[in-house]
């Protein structure tokens, strides 16, 4: 068939690839140059957020099903991994797979029930399901230790041939996280460039139209949720192995669910890069607030004195205000950048290109 000129691929296809490979290479080199554990800690938190955001993006961003109950899959990932490790001495690299499988099963059950609902009703149902799972974990004390949580010993070392990897320093944890990030982002990329991605987006845009064009709605929503739940469980599992202490109030609360959504909304929903950008923004923001960096900066600039009432107030309270500032950030993004930071940047670039083209036409 004759291929029309407007069907030719836009832009260069190798440039993003080169950029991605370079980014991963730089990240892989970081531990060789940075030994400061705080920096590695922040990077690990960043990886965790990228995995969470990108995982939610599959069902929320592409398929448009706004689940606010992803804490359920995160918690299942964390709990299954640590329970298997502490109670059954099963190595976490096997336990994680079991955790992901468990999350997948729960997701498919939850999906086949709640995907009958649309829009806000689905959102409410997803919150309810996550609460049910939180309360179950809280009360199933024989298995989960209830509100006391689970504290695990050190992660067993792995021996591959001659090399032994010990998880005492943060470096191996860092690399494990980086691999997980690459896997999750690649999964998003694969979804976007496949039939599944087209079907998910069609469902997001108009369910009835999608249905009439031969798309099995329930099946495809379940596939989206399944993929999303598996990677969310991976994030939970990673968190549990890094922190080695979990309880219902850290891994199963609505805060976790909301965070996954916010990462995507802020970065740009339904795009591969959006959750990455959103994660960077949110982690940077919450760390600057928590570590009193802003107050210290203001004091060192001489804007406020450390001894003054204002200085004391900021030192005392600003670090606790990060949820408030999250909230303000979300309002600002929704009002002024409805397609997230990535959408806003792309629009600005398009506008500049149009202006440039118009200027080129009339010299």
């Amino acid at each position: 068939m004759r291929t029309s000129p407007y069907l030719a691929p836009r832009g260069s296809t190798w440039l993003p690839l080169v950029g991605a490979v370079a980014a991963v290479a730089v990240l892989a080199a970081v531990p060789a140059f940075v030994s400061n554990p705080y920096v590695l800690h922040i990077m690990i938190l960043l990886f965790l957020s990228v995995i969470m955001g990108s995982a939610w993006n599959v069902v929320g961003g592409y398929a448009g099903q706004y689940s606010v109950g992803h804490a359920a899959y995160y918690g299942i990932g964390a709990y299954v991994t640590l329970i298997f490790m502490t109670q059954y001495q099963i190595m976490p690299w096997w336990g994680s797979w079991v955790a992901m499988a468990a999350a997948l099963v729960v997701a498919l059950v939850v999906g086949s029930i709640t995907f009958r609902l649309r829009g806000p009703y689905f959102v409410l149902a997803s919150i309810a399901v996550a609460e049910v799972i939180r309360l179950t974990v809280l009360n199933w004390k024989s298995l989960t230790n209830g509100a006391e949580g689970i504290l695990s010993g050190p992660i067993p070392r792995i021996t591959i041939g001659e090399t032994t990897i010990r998880f005492i320093s943060k470096v191996p944890v860092y690399y494990v996280g980086l691999v997980m990030v690459v896997a999750t982002v690649l999964a998003n990329l694969a979804v976007q460039h496949s039939k599944l991605g087209y079907y998910f987006q069609a469902i997001r845009e108009d369910q009835d139209a999608a249905h009439s064009l031969g798309i099995n709605l329930t099946f495809h929503k379940n596939v989206a949720l399944g993929i999303s739940a598996v990677f969310t469980a991976l994030a939970g599992s990673y968190y549990a192995l890094y922190v080695r202490f979990i309880d219902p109030s850290t891994v199963l609360t609505i805060d976790i669910s909301v965070q996954a959504v916010l990462i995507c909304i802020i970065g740009g929903i339904g795009t591969v890069l959006g959750p990455v950008i959103g994660a960077v923004v949110l982690v940077a923001l919450s760390e600057t607030l928590r570590s009193n960096l802003i107050t210290d900066l203001l004091i060192s600039l001489g804007a406020v004195s450390a001894e003054s009432k204002v200085g004391a107030f900021l030192k005392e309270h600003l670090s606790h205000a990060h949820m408030l500032i999250y909230g303000i950030l979300v309002v600002v993004v929704i009002l002024f950048m409805p397609d997230g930071i990535l959408g806003w940047v792309r629009q600005a670039m398009r506008r500049r290109a149009q202006v440039a083209a118009a200027a080129g036409e009339k010299p």
């Binding site: 068939m1 291929t3 029309s4 407007y6 069907l7 836009r10 460039h193 496949s194 039939k195 087209y198 079907y199 987006q201 069609a202 997001r204 845009e205 108009d206 009835d208 139209a209 999608a210 249905h211 009439s212 064009l213 031969g214 798309i215 099995n216 709605l217």
Partner: protein, 239 residues
């Protein structure tokens, strides 16, 4: 054998009969016009045929097999697909992507789907808009997009719900030509339309619905001269 057979279909919403004992059949390769005053039950009948509602009573046979009760996606896979009176573009996807979604009903390959979609866009003359977001199209082009999208699913029977509604005469003429071209390719079509001139020109047979019941069925010239039809549309005094 008839490609589509509707047998004694009833659709009740509570006590209201939106369709009541509607029966007709369609031959392959023909165009059937479905007309009737507002609220006659035309779109409800489309919904019953394509699986959006199961009929309360009655049977729908497509290529000799019962399809009433099947979901719309299954009906589409069997080769019957409908457009929407109120157009439903996948707004944040490009025009090409919209049509590719239709094409993906028959293939798993994006490359093949892209080729099928490009062909359909040429047919409806939307090729130059392939890269535009569907949500930004004016109404005339949205209607064409709907047709391209259903054509991409490789249907045998198309149900077109007011594809000319809201169009200017030039655009309507284009759509009429498009419908006649589709007929030439051997596809069967059922068309809901309010523009009588257009429906008379394209239809091989016409079914008239009124208050949910089939009022008349026949050739276009039989329908225009049918006193009951004239009464339904214009009132007693005009007969």
């Amino acid at each position: 054998m008839a490609i589509l057979e509707v047998r004694n279909v009833f659709k009740l919403f509570g006590g209201l009969a939106a369709n009541s004992d509607v029966s007709f059949s369609m031959e392959q390769g023909t165009i059937m016009g479905l007309i009737g005053p507002n609220g006659a039950g035309k779109t409800t009948l489309f919904n019953c045929i394509t699986g959006y509602y199961p009929p309360t009573k009655g049977e729908v046979l497509f290529k000799g097999e019962r399809i009433d009760g099947l979901a719309p996606d299954k009906v589409c896979k069997l080769g019957m697909v409908r457009t929407w009176q109120k157009v439903r573009p996948l707004a944040k996807m490009t025009v090409l992507d919209n049509v590719m979604v239709g094409a993906l009903a028959r293939t798993n390959s994006l490359r093949v789907a892209r080729e099928i979609a490009a062909e359909q866009l040429e047919i409806v003359k939307l090729g130059q808009k392939a890269r535009f977001l569907a949500g930004g199209l004016p109404i005339g082009e949205r209607k064409k997009l709907e047709v391209a999208r259903v054509l991409a699913t490789k249907p045998e029977l198309l149900l077109l719900d007011e594809v000319m509604g809201g169009l200017n005469p030039a655009e309507s003429d284009e759509i009429i030509q498009l419908i006649l071209d589709i007929k030439k390719r051997g596809l069967t079509q059922m068309v809901i339309e309010h523009d009588m001139k257009a429906i008379m020109r394209i239809s091989d047979r016409i079914v008239v619905l009124n208050s949910g019941e089939k009022l008349a069925e026949g050739l276009p010239q039989e329908i225009v001269n049918n006193p009951e039809v004239i009464t339904a549309y214009l009132g007693e005094a005009h007969v």
